[in-house]
C-alpha cells in the first residue's frame, strides 16, 4: 500500500491524465453550444444549438452532408470487409499452411509501416497505373491495410482460446462443416466479431493519414474537417466535432445494447 503522500500524488497524476485525455474534447463540445454571435474561442457568448442547425445548411466552404455520407458508407464497407476477412483468416490461421508464417508477417507489416507512406504508396501506384484515386477504391484499400491486421490479431487471440473439441463435438453430432460454423463457431465468437466491427468502424470513420493521399477528389469527413479548419471561422466546426463524437458513441451504444439484449434473451430461455 502506498503511503498518504504517494496516494495523493497518484490521485493528482490520474486527474491530470483524465483531463489531458478528455479536456480537449470537452472544450470542443462546450464551445459547440456557443451563442449565435459567439466566436471560435472562449468566452461563451450565450448558449444555443444554433451551430448544429447550421450543419445542415449550405456552407460557404466545404460540404458536411456529402462528406459524412461518404465517410459512413466507407466505414460500413471497411467494417463489413474487415469482419468477413478477419474471421475467415482467423479460422484459416488455426492450422499451418504453406506460406502461413509469411502471410502473417506481411499482414502485420502493414500495421507497422508509417501510415502516411502506405497512403502515399497506394496513391502513387494508382497514379502510375493511370487509375483515378477515389474514396471507394484506393482509400478503401488504404484503410483496410489498417483495419485488417487489427481484426486478424483479435481473431488470432480469440481462436487461441477456442476449444477445437466444440467443432469436433458438432461434427460428431452430425453437423456439416457449414452448420458447425453457423450453429457453434459463430455464436461463440460473436462478441469478438462485434468488437472487430466496432473497431473497424471507428478506425475507418476518423482515419486520416492513409486516406489523405488516396481519397481523390471527394473528401471523407476527416479530410473535409482538415480543409475547413483553415478557412471556416465559425463554431459550426465544433458542432460537427460534437455531432461526429456523438455518432461514434451512438454506434458503440447500439452494439452494446444489442449484445446485452442477446444475452438477456438467452438467459430468459
Amino acid at each position: 500500500m502506498p503511503g498518504r503522500l504517494g496516494r495523493m500524488l497518484l490521485t493528482v497524476l490520474f486527474v491530470a491524465f483524465v483531463l489531458f485525455l478528455y479536456g480537449p474534447t470537452l472544450t470542443i463540445i462546450v464551445l459547440s453550444f456557443q451563442g449565435e454571435n459567439g466566436g471560435l474561442t472562449f468566452p461563451m457568448n450565450g448558449v444555443s444549438v444554433h451551430w448544429f442547425g447550421r450543419l445542415f445548411e449550405q456552407q460557404a466552404v466545404g460540404d458536411f452532408g456529402a462528406s459524412i455520407s461518404r465517410s459512413l458508407l466507407l466505414a460500413a464497407m471497411v467494417t463489413a470487409t474487415t469482419v468477413v476477412v478477419s474471421l475467415a483468416a482467423g479460422m484459416a490461421f488455426r492450422r499451418r499452411f504453406p506460406g502461413s508464417a509469411w502471410l502473417f508477417y506481411l499482414t502485420i507489416a502493414s500495421l507497422i509501416l508509417p501510415s502516411l507512406l502506405v497512403g502515399l504508396g497506394i496513391g502513387l501506384a494508382f497514379n502510375r497505373a493511370e487509375i483515378d484515386t477515389n474514396w471507394w477504391s484506393s482509400a478503401f484499400g488504404a484503410q483496410l491495410t489498417w483495419t485488417l491486421p487489427f481484426g486478424l490479431l483479435i481473431m488470432l487471440a480469440v481462436f487461441n482460446r477456442f476449444d477445437r473439441a466444440w467443432e469436433e463435438a458438432a461434427r460428431d453430432l452430425g453437423a456439416s462443416p457449414w452448420k458447425s460454423f453457423w450453429h457453434v463457431v459463430l455464436p461463440i465468437v460473436a462478441p469478438s466479431v462485434i468488437g472487430i466491427a466496432l473497431f473497424g468502424f471507428t478506425l475507418s470513420f476518423d482515419e486520416f493519414a492513409r486516406t489523405l493521399l488516396t481519397a481523390g477528389v471527394d473528401n471523407t469527413l476527416p479530410l473535409e474537417i482538415l480543409g475547413m479548419t483553415t478557412t471556416v471561422t465559425t463554431p459550426v466546426l465544433y458542432a460537427l466535432g460534437t455531432a461526429s463524437t456523438a455518432l461514434s458513441f451512438a454506434v458503440i451504444g447500439v452494439a452494446l445494447l444489442a449484445l446485452w439484449r442477446a444475452k438477456a434473451r438467452r438467459e430468459a430461455r
Binding site: 476449444d163 460428431d172 455464436p187 438467452r266
Partner: protein, 322 residues
C-alpha cells in the same frame, strides 16, 4: 457379432508412430477400458474409432461394417470429450437436442426427447441452465446425455472422470456402468487410472508405446500380468528377478517373515504408510531392489530403517514374459 474390430490399425503423425498396427475385437454390449500411460496411443485409438483422426493404415469395423473412411456421424459412434465440449451459448436442453436438430427433427419433438435424456442422467430440473451455470459433474451428465441422444451403438469416452473430485468420480463410475448395462450398448473408455479400469471394464486393454501389451478381463490381468510393464502399471505387484526370469508377486500376498517355508526378500524398511484397512511397507534390499507389502492393519508397528524380511508362498509367484 462384434461391436468394434480394429485390424492392424496404425497411426502416424509425420514420422512419429502413435499407434503401431493394433488388432482388437470388442464384443457386443461390453465395457472396454483403454488403459496406459500418457502417450501410449490410447486416445489416438479412441479418436480413430470416432472418426476424428484418420487411420494411417489398417481398418476399423463397426458391427461388421467397414467405417474406416466414414465421417464421425455416419459411424454409429458418439463421443464424450474430455473437456465435455458443451456449447457455451446453448442451454443444457439445447445442447442435448443438438444432435437431433442436425438431423432435422422437429423442434417440439427434439426438445421432448432432450428432456427424456436429461431425466436419464437426473438433470431434468436444470434443463434451462447454461453450461457455465452447472458444476463439473453436472456438465458431464449433460455431455453424456448429448452423446447418448443420437442412439449410438458404441459410446466413446475420453478420460471422462479425470476432471472430477474423488468422491464424485466414484459415484460417476457407478453411473457409467449402470447406463452401459441399461442401454446395452458398448462403452469404450480411455483412462490412465488402473483403478478405474479395474472397476468398470469387462475388457481391459493395456497399451504401451502404441501397442497393445495385454487385452483381457481385469481379473485375468491382475492375476496373470503378461509382462513386467503390465505388472508395474496396474500396481499391487512386486516385480523381482529369479535368475534370468522376471516374476511378479502381488503385494497383498507378501507378509512379514513368520518362519514358514517360502521365498524371501531381506532389507530395511524405507516407508510405512497406514492406509486404514491395510498398512503398506516398502522394504529395500542391500542391492537396491524394492518390494512392498500390503499388511493387515493389525500388524504391530514397524519403525523406519528397521531390518525386515518379506516372505510369500512360492505358488503365488507369477512368471513374466521377458
Amino acid at each position: 457379432m462384434r461391436d468394434v474390430e480394429l485390424v492392424a490399425v496404425t497411426k502416424r503423425y509425420g514420422s512419429a508412430l502413435a499407434v503401431d498396427g493394433i488388432d482388437l475385437a470388442i464384443p457386443e454390449g461390453s465395457y472396454t477400458c483403454l488403459l496406459g500411460p500418457s502417450g501410449c496411443g490410447k486416445t489416438s485409438t479412441l479418436r480413430m474409432i470416432a472418426g476424428h483422426e484418420m487411420v494411417s493404415e489398417g481398418e476399423i469395423l463397426l458391427a461388421g461394417r467397414n467405417v474406416t473412411t466414414l465421417p464421425p456421424a455416419q459411424r454409429g459412434t458418439a463421443m464424450m470429450f474430455q473437456s465435455y465440449a458443451l456449447f457455451p451459448h446453448l442451454s443444457a436442453r439445447d445442447n442435448v437436442a443438438f444432435g437431433l436438430r442436425m438431423r432435422g427433427v422437429a423442434k417440439a419433438e427434439r426438445l421432448r426427447r432432450a428432456d427424456e435424456f436429461l431425466d436419464l442422467v437426473h438433470l431434468g430440473p436444470l434443463a434451462d441452465r447454461l453450461p457455465a451455470q452447472l458444476s463439473g459433474g453436472q456438465q458431464q451428465r449433460v455431455a453424456l446425455a448429448r452423446a447418448l441422444i443420437t442412439e449410438p451403438r458404441v459410446l466413446l469416452l475420453d478420460e471422462p472422470l479425470s476432471a472430477l473430485d474423488p468422491f464424485l468420480r466414484a459415484k460417476m463410475r457407478e453411473e457409467l456402468k449402470r447406463l452401459q448395462r441399461e442401454l446395452g450398448i458398448s462403452f469404450i473408455h480411455v483412462t490412465h487410472s488402473q483403478e478405474e479400469a479395474m472397476a468398470l471394464a469387462d475388457l481391459a486393454v493395456v497399451m504401451d508405446h502404441g501397442r497393445i501389451v495385454q487385452a483381457a478381463p481385469p481379473r485375468q490381468i491382475f492375476e496373470r500380468p503378461a509382462s513386467a510393464f503390465v505388472a508395474r502399471f496396474i500396481g499391487g505387484h512386486n516385480v523381482l528377478a529369479r535368475g534370468a526370469q522376471a516374476i511378479s508377486i502381488r503385494t497383498d500376498r507378501c507378509r512379514l517373515d513368520d518362519g514358514a517355508e517360502g521365498p524371501r526378500h531381506h532389507g530395511h524398511v524405507r516407508a510405512v504408510e497406514y492406509l486404514g484397512a491395510a498398512m503398506r511397507i516398502v522394504v529395500v534390499a542391500e542391492d537396491g531392489t524394492e518390494a512392498e507389502a500390503m499388511l493387515p492393519d493389525s500388524t504391530p508397528p514397524i519403525a523406519l530403517g528397521e531390518a525386515a524380511t518379506l516372505t510369500w508362498n512360492a505358488a503365488d509367484e507369477h512368471a513374466l514374459a521377458a
